[in-house]
Amino acid sequence: MAEMSSSASRWRHSPLLWPLIGLAVLVALNVVLFPSFLRVSVIDGHLYGTTIDILHQGAQGMLLALGMTLVIATGGVDLSVGSIMAVAGAVAAVLLRQPNLNLPLVLLAAIGAGLLAGLANGTLVAALGIQPIVATLILMVAGRGASQLISGGEVIIIKNASFEFLGNGFLFGLPVAPLLVMALYLVANLALRRSAAGLFIEAVGDNETAGRFAGLAAARVKGLVYVASGFCAAIAGLLATSNVRAADSYRVGENQELDAIFAVVVGGTALTGGRFLLMGAFIGALLLQTLTTTMYNVGVPPPVAPVPKALVILAVCLLQSEHARRWFKGLVSRSRP
């Protein structure tokens, strides 16, 4: 009996609760407004439906949120992910124009570019001690420029069936992109929890000094998370490019970094770092995509969708802040007779 209540209470206090509730509310809203929301139909062995669309369109955001979670867990932030997406897409598009290059090599090159960018970020933050906002801001600006340089400033159309499979194909009836992303989440979770990497990242975010004094190579941990983020961003860039069959260096990844930060924070990882929840980031990104789709279905023009996002960010910040919680408690207790 005691065991059951302790795991039940752990659920009640789990930070995953709020984003799950938020998601449930949104889904309920959608079902009420659009009864066909949850319907999934099978055509030609492929699954179709609004929920499938959400998973498909949200795949990039979920992937960015994966890398961003690790960065935020160390107390940092990565503003350059959108630009890294653009760089990876541009590299792939340009290389695919060569007639005899095989696909794995192209993908490797694009991912390599992302890793390089991540390494640059990591070096600036960990070795040179530059603030993460500034360091990744520099990469963001430079990266955008680099991607335009690589693609020659044009939008490059891609005509490669195997490459297009990434963004448009189906595997076991489901779209490839979300499957790939979910697989990456599983692999990441395994790697982080089976090795001590997850513990080290949380330690650095929770108390970096204590980590150093306990013999941890804290600077190295701080730097490597940016490499991971660059990796995720590169793959996300490949998914995006493959999906539209073009590398658009101007538009790819626009504002994606902010959405990724949003997903991580809503998912229960504090912006100050420490304990992180990969699952939470996934749900946060899913929530965000559902919100966007809901807005669209309700008739709100997509550019207006940020308004509810703003309110959610505000709510999350207030909930996470000690000062705000105390103030609200004070208000409530004062108004009681």
Binding site: S195, A196, A203, N207, G211, R212, F213, L216, G274
Partner: protein, 507 residues
């Protein structure tokens, strides 16, 4: 010199925080035209008293009077307006702004909201001249030496028409010449009728410049004395709570080990500017070397040099006879060292991580990310140490911040013991721990000694050092001044060494 009513009179001051009483029934008075020292070891309540006086905290009980009027400042600004100005150890000014600006900040002369820079400069020059201090008022404050920055802070305080000047550990970062210059300024201000509160732990300085002194211990008042009438040893014993009479004969219970073995860790001439001068240590297997000294004598600084947290300016460290450079705690751990820090909150625990994660952390960091300790191994370690150190925790997954301070300390000790070090440095291992737990830790120290570890024990409690050490190195004001071996380790001698006095021959 006003002998009738004191300039400042605090009566029965009390201040509590959740879970701790910081001050209780403290009286404190300062006369105009006097330099008054405020003394006490860690946790005595000095900083709380100052914060209450200067409006950072509000007292829970007691009354404060300045020049006869009851005051109750609720903010530093209010305290300043009343005439109480403070110069903090970290010189709380703005390093990026100029000297002149810092003196004038918040009250710059100007018309219609526009600043009059010439007046600001002139004003600053006049304020510094009052202290007979020369410096470029346009210079950036941060580019000046700490001593000069303090002068600027004092100039600002005076500018605010201070009647009472509080100097909080002003000499901590000054060299001897700068200390003399500060004293000259203090004496000049005293002659002008200012009351000066001088918070310090340097006893030589107390005897050099103060008229009267007040001693606090554990949040209560021990007494107020005229400096000239209080012998040094009595002062130290009052600060530490030992009566001069009743400690004779308290000697160490530890037998000195067989000598002749090479030290596991030794230092020659190890030093760092502003922290510790030239220290020679030799830590041997199966020995507990106590590092004795008052607050500020350089004990923790020594530990930090040994463990690679700070870089030494002089001297060398040898591990098992080989000279080594310890560049970081990581290097130190690889060499077989362990360090349990005195500030567990900011340097020890990962507050939101579980007891288990905190406990296995150093061992895991040593192994690296790849070779993760299996869950079963982790639980084994936890069960072993929770039992061995009697750690009270609901379970291994509780966040460590929920444990009491004493139990947190035990988890940290377990963390280091799990790495099976050859040398372990314990900095204030029993601070904030109840009597029962203290005894357990001391038993643990004995067991470590028996197991062949070399232990460096830093403690402010004389008794603890005496009870547990086979050898004691004494530090005083950042210098190594004495070494006691075997039967020499007893409370009286140690206190003398710490105070810098000579023992009177028993008659």
């Amino acid at each position: 010199m006003d002998q009738s009513a004191p300039l400042l009179q605090l009566r029965g001051m009390g201040k509590s925080f959740p879970g701790a009483v910081a001050l209780s029934g403290v009286d404190f008075s300062v006369r105009a035209g006097e330099i008054h020292a405020l003394l006490g070891e860690n946790g005595a309540g000095k900083s709380t008293l100052i914060k209450v006086l200067t409006g950072v905290y509000t007292a829970d009980e007691g009354e404060a009077r300045l020049a006869g009027q009851v005051i109750r400042p609720s903010s530093p600004k209010e305290a300043e307006a009343l005439g109480i100005s403070t110069v903090y150890q970290e010189v709380n000014l703005i390093p990026a702004l100029s000297v002149a600006e810092n003196i004038a900040l918040g009250r710059q002369p100007g018309r219609f909201g526009f600043l009059n820079w010439r007046a600001i400069r002139r004003h600053a020059q006049a304020a510094l001249a009052r202290l007979d201090v020369r410096c470029d008022v346009d210079a950036e404050l941060g580019s000046l030496s700490v001593a000069l920055q303090q002068m600027v802070a004092i100039a600002r305080a005076l500018d605010l028409k201070a009647k009472l000047l509080v100097l909080d550990e002003p000499t901590a970062s000054l060299d001897e010449k700068e200390v003399e210059e500060l004293f000259t300024v203090m004496k000049r201000l005293r002659a002008e009728g200012l009351g000066i509160v001088f918070v310090t732990h340097f006893l030589d300085q107390v005897y050099a410049v103060t008229d009267r002194l007040t001693i606090l211990r554990n949040g209560t008042l021990v007494g107020e004395y005229a400096t000239a009438e209080l012998p040094r040893l009595t002062l130290v014993s009052k600060m530490l709570g030992r009566e001069v009479q009743d400690v004779s004969g308290r000697t160490t219970a530890v037998q000195p080990p067989p000598s002749g073995e090479a030290p596991v860790l030794e230092t020659r001439g190890l030093g760092r500017r502003g922290a510790i001068q030239s220290i020679d240590l030799a830590l041997r297997k199966g020995e507990v070397t106590g590092l004795g000294g008052l607050l500020g004598s350089g004990r923790t600084e020594t530990a930090r040099l040994l463990f690679g947290i700070d870089k030494p300016d002089t001297g060398e460290i040898r591990v098992k006879g080989r000279p080594v450079v310890v560049r970081s705690p990581r290097d130190a751990v690889k060499l077989g060292l362990a360090f349990s820090s005195e500030d567990r909150k900011s340097e020890g625990i990962f507050p939101n991580l579980s007891v288990r994660e905190n406990l296995i952390f150093a061992l895991q960091a040593k192994r690296g990310a790849g070779r993760m300790l299996k869950h079963a191994e982790q639980m084994q370690l936890c069960t072993h140490y929770i039992a061995a150190l009697r750690i009270k925790t609901a379970d291994t997954e509780t966040p460590i911040k929920n444990l009491s301070g004493g139990n947190q300390q035990k988890v940290l000790l377990a963390r280091w013991l799990a790495t099976q070090p050859e040398v372990i440095i314990l900095d204030e291992p029993t601070r904030g721990i109840d009597i029962g737990a203290k005894a357990e830790i001391e038993q643990l120290i004995a067991k470590l000694r028996a197991d062949g570890l070399a232990v460096l024990l830093i403690s402010s409690e004389i008794e603890e050092v005496v009870r547990n050490s086979t050898r004691v190195v004494v530090l005083r004001e950042r210098r190594q001044t004495a070494e006691l071996n075997g039967a020499e380790i007893e409370t009286q001698r140690l206190m003398h060494a710490m105070a810098g006095t000579h023992e009177k021959p028993h008659g």
